[in-house]
Symmetry: C2
Subunit: 209 residues, 2 copies
């Protein structure tokens, strides 16, 4: 697998920091499979960060992007996908209320995009290489702004990003619901709309909702 870096995708503006970290492909093993009720769903902190949930691929899938960028003029020498997962309890609560409960956890997984392979002749499918993992966690008692971002290098423990990191300001300014990019999660946006939980800034930027 080649060394690759990303520019301006996923949770926006984290990429400068990630570039600085010089991330390589993580090369993680297939996730551990657990029975549905065996793992605690709340965030698990360590002395130096946040534990990557071993079973996040069994969480609720929200959506994927392809080569997304929040900055104009992204130049790429490759393609990538980003997949977003949320813990099931938070998903169920959001589905009922249009709001994220305390202890909500998102995982953003960025994967390599493959082109020709097997019988695929055009377009892209997701490859084995994980290029980035990031988390966005709501923990009202722990974080002054209620939410925090964590970046995982090649480790299973994520590093807390300081509130001066661009991602906080960008999510606060542009996210559709409670600092989360519900506008990119097609099954959730109508739920937020129906519950009236779209943020004022999002509604101002997107008059059609």
């Amino acid at each position: 697998m080649a060394f690759r870096v990303r520019r301006g995708v996923g949770f926006p503006a984290m990429s400068a920091r990630l570039l600085a970290l010089g991330l390589t492909l993580l090369g993680l093993s297939p996730v551990v499979v657990s029975e549905p009720t065996s793992a605690p769903e709340g965030p698990v902190y360590t002395s130096d960060g946040l534990q990557l949930p071993a079973n996040y691929r069994e969480w609720i899938y929200l959506s994927s992007g392809f080569d997304m960028s929040y900055r104009p003029g992204r130049q790429m020498d490759h393609h990538d996908f980003d997949n977003v997962f949320v813990n099931p309890a938070a998903y169920r609560e959001f589905s009922r209320t249009g709001r994220w409960p305390d202890k909500t956890q998102f995982v953003l997984e960025v994967r390599t995009a493959e082109g020709k392979g097997s019988i695929n002749t055009s377009g892209n499918f997701q490859g084995a290489g994980i290029m980035e993992l990031e988390m966005h966690v709501k923990d009202e008692a722990r974080f002054p702004g209620k939410w925090a971002f964590f970046s995982f290098g090649d480790r299973s423990v994520g590093t807390l990003l300081p509130t001066s990191a661009e991602c906080y300001a960008c999510h606060a300014a542009h996210a559709a619901v409670d600092t989360t990019f519900v506008q990119f999660y097609p099954t959730l946006l109508p739920i937020a709309r129906s519950h009236g939980t779209l943020s004022p800034t999002y509604k101002a930027e997107n008059p059609r909702g």
Copy 2:
């Protein structure tokens, strides 16, 4: 939403039939949210087909493709994503054994791809429009070949495709595991490899595994 049709993606070669059906965007409502244990996982048949599982978006996500085609020369006037989900019990069994148990159900969901929108400046994210839904179901007692494909038009009941449909022959010839395209599911391919369940035809076509 515009009328759109697809050519040669997802479960391969079903698209000719789907074109013939003249599928429009389905415009389904957000899926019903259920508690984790409340819905039966096995296929539910009706008098004329297969019931779409209301909570399939809560199943295990396997992967997404972008503009994929199994046929050379696909000409597109739009972009699309396809998302693949499998029922949790089947996923857990596959994770343990590299094999799909009886009653395995896959859902292929094809979504519109949006470009510019909100703060996204390039690349694509998934839109609200569902362009196709297809299912691939293993039911050893019911189907002579153990597996069957179902196509959903704008209905919540899928129509059984006859075994003369191209998809059956193509999956039998090219799929990595038991007529399923595990080669496009990055977390599952290493599991199949480690359990030695890759099909002989796949191994012949892909000597590097």
